[in-house]
Symmetry: none
Subunit: 197 residues, 4 copies
DNA sequence: GATGAATGAGTCTTCATTCAT
DNA sequence: CATGAATGAAGACTCATTCAT
């Protein structure tokens, strides 16, 4: 019989890789990275343990792939046109997106915060995450600056903390916190800025 | 490392037990619960591995003791006289204490958030923590209610999220966030309440 | 690497089979049989892993084929006309050939000695090798006997050990031992025999 | 009860370590390093798998310990007073010892040659072995030099090869080669040197 | 109380081999 | 013929826990 085509193999790889990543994210988020064994991931993905290593070098590579892929996707949201400048619309959009994204990706957020809290475990991941985060603060801080805010970096940190706090509480227990009400309060609190004082 | 001294758990009569708890907290916070082996704790505490099991049933019991002991200490801070009522002074004191405590106990906070994020791992701990937390929200919510706030529970959640966000960012990287400036901003944001609108 | 070219196993009809054997020999010799994975062989041979199993039943069969093919080739050298009798010319020729062959096949020698040293691993191979070796000793021993040597079998073992010693040292590190000088010394040591005392 | 004394623990460690090394040497020699699993070593030593790691960092460390310990012991034999000079008595003694040692340590020799043949596998070990070997050649070469030998290094290599050849054949199959006869032949061959030509 | 040797279940990872295409 | 995805058994190593002393 004719061997499978290159594309056929490629398709299998892409699909199976996604399968593994999905299973891994759910398990990492709910049970924790260290408690999740590769066997469990394989089982959840409905494949054999060995096959995992056909797609990833190691358990850690699964984690890295998971984190970096999602982070980049996430950063696109903050500064869509990547010009380092944030308009009023983009500011409101960012807050809006934070809440939209939160609902769809609470699994990822759990994993993200868990990782940030234990840097020793995953040094490499942490460093790269820091690098990805810095420009975000820049953009937001620039925005506050342009609005005449006295201490824009502090304001950016404050907003970031507020959102992180809401996010983490939602990640911990989605039923504990009413997202819509929270969003309204955040928008209202920052209205003076985007309504151009 | 946090300025928690070797006398932290002095209320725990046995000196050895305090030694173990101190060592465990530092390691759990910096490396993570699962990555920290009992041997490492013993080594850090300057005792033998076997001795740990004279004082604790298991590694998990160390964690539980750590968490519950500290949580109770913490809750005392929120509502000192346990009357379920919060005065303006107590409200400002609570915010003040949050920051004071944060500086001294970032190790514990790391551990606390890490645990809350992965409930499956430590079901028992989580349930008890929830129980401890509920009354706090009640007290704060009551306070906002007494001030004529329309949706006091939402306001309590919002404040809690804000503080959690600051706390977690500080726990992750103490250099990234200026505590004093943050405290000023929080107090200023809630001034309308405790200055009796 | 040894100067064995890709055409080494040309007597093996299938070209692919020769490709596999060449790759396997080089890898087995340099890395060791157990450390060499079938994937690595396939990669070195420029074919797919699965295809190897079209030509060989197992990894072990590759090794066996490698060894037996080469050993037979080698034995032809010792007693070319297979009459069990060795002339003075054939004796000198044998020593000469040992050195010639050594230079071209140090890869094989590494593998050969490695296998002889760990009989349990490859019982089957060992037995067959022994069978192949015995007649060689006979022929050489007969030669010494015909020269009036008192203890011809001892003499044969001695010569064999000497050559093995040179061979193995060359196989281990070709730069460590000057083959020409060694050959001269061997020939000189045995000159009394072939110069008919 | 009083805890065991320091000496008591020390004794246990020494004994158990020797137990493991003995079991490992026998298995490494007969089956090969890679084929010998840590479980098998533990089983042969009559202890649990895990305990092995209480005494050695890794399987490789067992091998290294085995090799270096024995090699140093061995080198003492060559140049007992470590003055780099070899007398006639020491020369004869060295040959004598080679054969004595051979009988008692054929297991080690198997392992030694097997390792030398596959340098890639155990780079570290190989390098150190080379270092240990060089001075030996120096001493022997000096000896031949002092005897007026034209090319002492060649002579040293030749003798070394001869002994290696005998050793390896004995290691492969002790019944195949009569040690006494071999020793007599070696001594006789080199008699002109130590009988002061 | 105190020590650390000892256990064994569990973890990540590798690899010979099979098989659908 | 050829390919490489897929499997599963096996291997090195870790670690919570037990226990003799």
């Amino acid at each position: 019989m004719a061997p499978r085509t290159k594309e056929s193999f490629e398709k299998i790889r892409t699909e199976k890789k996604a399968l593994i990543l999905d299973a891994a994210l759910e398990l990492f988020a709910s049970e924790g990275y260290h408690v999740t064994s590769v066997s469990k991931i394989a089982q959840a993905a409905g494949i054999s343990k060995g096959l995992i290593y056909n797609y990833f070098e190691s358990k850690e590579e699964i984690l890295e792939t998971l984190v970096f892929t999602t982070m980049e996707e996430l950063l696109d949201m903050i500064d869509p046109n990547k010009d380092g400048v944030m308009t009023d619309e983009e500011f409101v959009y960012m807050i809006d997106m934070n809440f939209k994204w939160l609902e769809a990706n609470s699994d990822f957020l759990k994993l993200y915060f868990a990782m940030m809290l234990q840097p020793t475990v995953l040094k490499l991941v942490e460093v790269k995450l820091m690098e990805l985060t810095i420009p975000v603060f820049k953009v937001i801080s620039n925005y506050f600056d342009s609005k005449g805010c006295e201490n824009p970096m502090i304001e950016a940190r404050y907003l970031n903390s507020l959102l992180d706090g809401i996010n983490i509480n939602y990640a911990i227990d989605p039923t504990s916190i009413p997202l819509d009400a929270m969003k309204q309060k955040v928008l209202q609190q920052y209205a003076p800025y985007y309504n151009s004082i």
